[in-house]
């Protein structure tokens, strides 16, 4: 019996849908093994088709994108009902991803920036009718429904996806590495014997000397981020920003604790300056997990 699978695109960029094509020829094998019963992005399915399905009739439902609208939430709940196994596909569904940074702002502020005080929409109006509700905060899939497995990554890198599909189609969910990226980092051997960060450098304005980014004072999330991507970014001389999520809780908190400890702390004033120079702590350490850090949105504590 072929497995019945579904794929849905929630609040996200669409990269996840495309990433499925990234497995290249493996896709043909995959298509031989499964029946796609619902994939609005690729084929013309209607929500009512989904509603008509029997509960639990889908073997695996992949949900990519976050929960930003009432529609996202409704479909997430519907898929949960119809599927035996619901899988969060990609960083948005797993941790909220970059769009989760919107939780630093209230809904009103977001609307204001997009529709009202925006140079490209001079006579802006907030659209109001016949649209699903824009929820007060962005949520991850698991904060709305029970999730059986997570495939992290923005989008899931090919090796991760292959391992995940292989495991999931065989009824397994233990396809993720328990190690952090340093383990497979091509720059691992360039780690020095002593490391003290004396200056935080921004990647785009520094000359990469090919050594471990942290040794150069460039914040790299690799030490706290789950391995499995084969360090594609590092190979392209870009520090890890953490799309694969953390190994032990939120990668941002772990990385903050570790990196703070590496800062030269002999002189309090110098230490303060180095830490002050880290602009945008949430954006640096929680680029993909702000929705997890702020599940209820920005805290209102201005006093």
């Amino acid at each position: 019996m072929k497995k019945k699978i579904a794929m849905y695109w929630g609040a996200g960029c669409g990269g996840c849908d495309v990433s499925l094509l990234g497995v290249h020829e493996k896709l043909l094998d995959l298509l031989g093994e499964v029946d796609i019963v619902f994939w609005p992005c690729a084929m013309d399915f209607k929500y009512e088709d989904l509603e008509k399905m029997e509960d639990g009739s889908i073997d695996i439902a992949f949900y990519n994108g976050a929960i930003r609208t009432s529609e996202n939430e409704e479909i997430a709940k519907l898929l949960r009902k119809k599927a035996k196994m619901l899988v969060a596909y990609g960083s948005c569904a797993t941790e909220g991803c970059v769009i989760g940074l919107a939780n630093l702002y209230a809904r009103e502020e977001i609307f204001d920036a997009i529709y009202l005080n925006n140079e490209t929409t001079p006579d802006g109006k907030i659209p109001s009718h016949e649209l699903p509700e824009f929820l007060p905060v962005l949520k991850t899939l698991d904060s709305v429904v029970k999730v059986d497995a997570f495939i992290p990554g923005c989008p899931p890198p090919k090796p991760v996806l292959e391992a995940a599909l292989n495991a999931l189609l065989n009824g397994k969910t233990d396809f993720l590495s328990n190690l952090a990226l340093c383990d497979e980092c091509p720059r691992r051997d360039s780690k020095p014997d002593k490391l003290e960060i004396n200056e935080i450098k921004r990647w785009h304005s520094s000359n990469d000397d090919g050594r471990c980014f942290l040794a150069q004072g460039i914040i790299c999330m690799g030490l706290a981020t789950r391995a499995g991507c084969k360090a594609e970014c590092i190979t392209a001389s870009i520090p890890c920003t953490g799309c694969m999520g953390g190994v032990d809780g939120l990668s941002g908190v772990s990385a903050m604790s570790a990196i703070a400890s590496l800062i030269n702390g002999e002189d309090e004033e110098k230490e303060r300056k180095i830490i002050e120079s880290i602009e945008d702590v949430v954006g640096t350490f929680f680029k993909y997990s702000a929705a997890k850090l702020l599940p209820y949105g920005r805290v209102k504590d201005e006093s």
Binding site: C182, D183, L195, A227, S251, L262
Partner: protein
Amino acid sequence: MARIGVFVCHCGLNIAGVVDVKKVAEELIKEKDVVYATTYTYMCSDPGQNLIREKIKEHRLDGVVIAACSPSMHEETFRNATRDLINPYRVEIANIREQDSWVHEGKDATEKAIKITKSLVEKVRGNYELEPIKIDVEKRALVIGGGIAGIQASLDIADAGYEVILVEKEPSIGGRMAQLSETFPTLDCSQCILTPKMVLAARHPNIKLLTYSEVTGVDGYVGNFKVRIKKKPRYIDVDKCTACGDCEDACIVVVPNEFDFGRKPRKAIYIPFPQAVPAAYVIDEQSCLGIAPLRCGECASVCEANAIDYDMQPEYIEEKVGAIVVATGYDLYDKNKLVEYGYGEDADIITSLEFERMLSASGPTQGKVIKPSNGKEAKKIVFVQCAGSRDKQHKPYCSSICCMYTAKHALLFKHHVKDGEAYVFYIDIRATGKNYEEFIARVMEEERINYIRGKPAKIYRQGDKIVVEGVDTLLGKSVKIEADLVVLAMAIVPKKDVKEIAKLLKVATDEHGFFKEAHPKLRPVEAVTRGIFFAGCGQAPKDIPASVAQASAAASKVIAMFSHDKLEKEPIVARFGDACTGCRTCFYICPFNAIQLDSNGKAYNIPALCEGCGVCVAACPVGNIKLPNYDDEQIKKMVEVVLE
């Protein structure tokens, strides 16, 4: 499922007078895993302790929380009282006296007592049963440096019956003290009191003396150090050499000697000083003509003992030791850095140690005080204290011994040159040792030495004389002295290679390069790294009695360590899992160098060195390091409970 008992102490009225102890017990019995809760007037009394013991047996308790006074008071009492029934690490104290009943009142205090006690129940739930960590001890010590501190430490340890390997970089032991003429305040001849100790050390059956040797590697940890030592080729068989001196006479190469700071010549084959131990010659391979490829061979041809071997190669020795005493000693600050004192380039401006050699009967002038520039007797000397010390431009610290030896210098000078005139420039006099102040007084009063309070502003040559200009700050008058000789009491600095040694031993140095002790007051002879101890001027400038005392203190620490077959230590140490990814964060930050990397770059720790601070646990970005009984999950649960 745990079975936890909660015992709430009244502490008379100290707790019960404020906290509703009954209510605390009533609330706690409702907690998950709490199978028994009670209160008692004085838990720490015998009946109280017995009550706990009885209830542990009766209810088969595997965890105990005693809500009472601070753990610093009775944690040990309660753990010891129940040790045979329950692992001590399953017994915790909830501090509801010092941090509750004594500082709060009424309902608040009761509520807080409940929260604190609940949080300790959470802790006990997650506590492991632990046993002290046992570490094997190799009962042999390494002493680095054969000056008076190293000799004393070696002798003390050896006398206690333990083997010592004493490593000295120079061809002879003796160190700085061997260079001194007389010692303050008693004016004993330095050589006379030192030489017997040098000989004792060399002959001691428990001391293995390795001169002309350097430590090149140290691995391992307390009780189990593996030390690599390089024995430099001396080209002389120490056992055969009779120190007859024939070789020296035959040698045709003449170079300045180190022992007298180049103020006396020596041959390429030489003995550093007459009382050297071992009493054997050494060939300085830099200046010898006979080492390959060109052979001179003069010395070998006259050596009747056949002690000379030009083919001698460096020898590498590996030794296993349990403890290391570091007694590397000091150098003088470079006088060339003293711009204001003419960079010390003038032959008649000399350092304190050069003056010591000049005063010595075996020194370059046989004890005559001369002007090095012309060899004539020096009649007028200016001594400058704090030359480089207590000076932010140079070394901000006090070198500790200069006041005393300068007074000694002045006194000895007056004894050598009866009609001599001596001036001492000083900032103030620090004479804190036993009989030191009396010595200073004697020098000032009886010997009629002119003490001038102030620092010389300028020192320069004028014809035959060295002019010292300064201000006498007591009189408020400028002073100008035309001297024959100027002696600079140079600042004491650590030996040049101290950084390398510190790196080998993985011990810290302070901002001035001196070894850093574990605690400046309470652990002044220990390194932070267990099993390593300091003695002498490598740790800070100090005089001979202090060096000897510190050496004996270090030795007693070593001996105390060696008196056990196994070392025991607190078992709350970081535990490493198998999910290390090699980010090295823990390795970089461990204050105790307890973390090492295996061949795959993965971190692991040496429990013997880990102190359990948890800095690595909080830093590990993958949660691979746990601290038993203070683990993340426990602490987070405690947080939840106190916020309920």
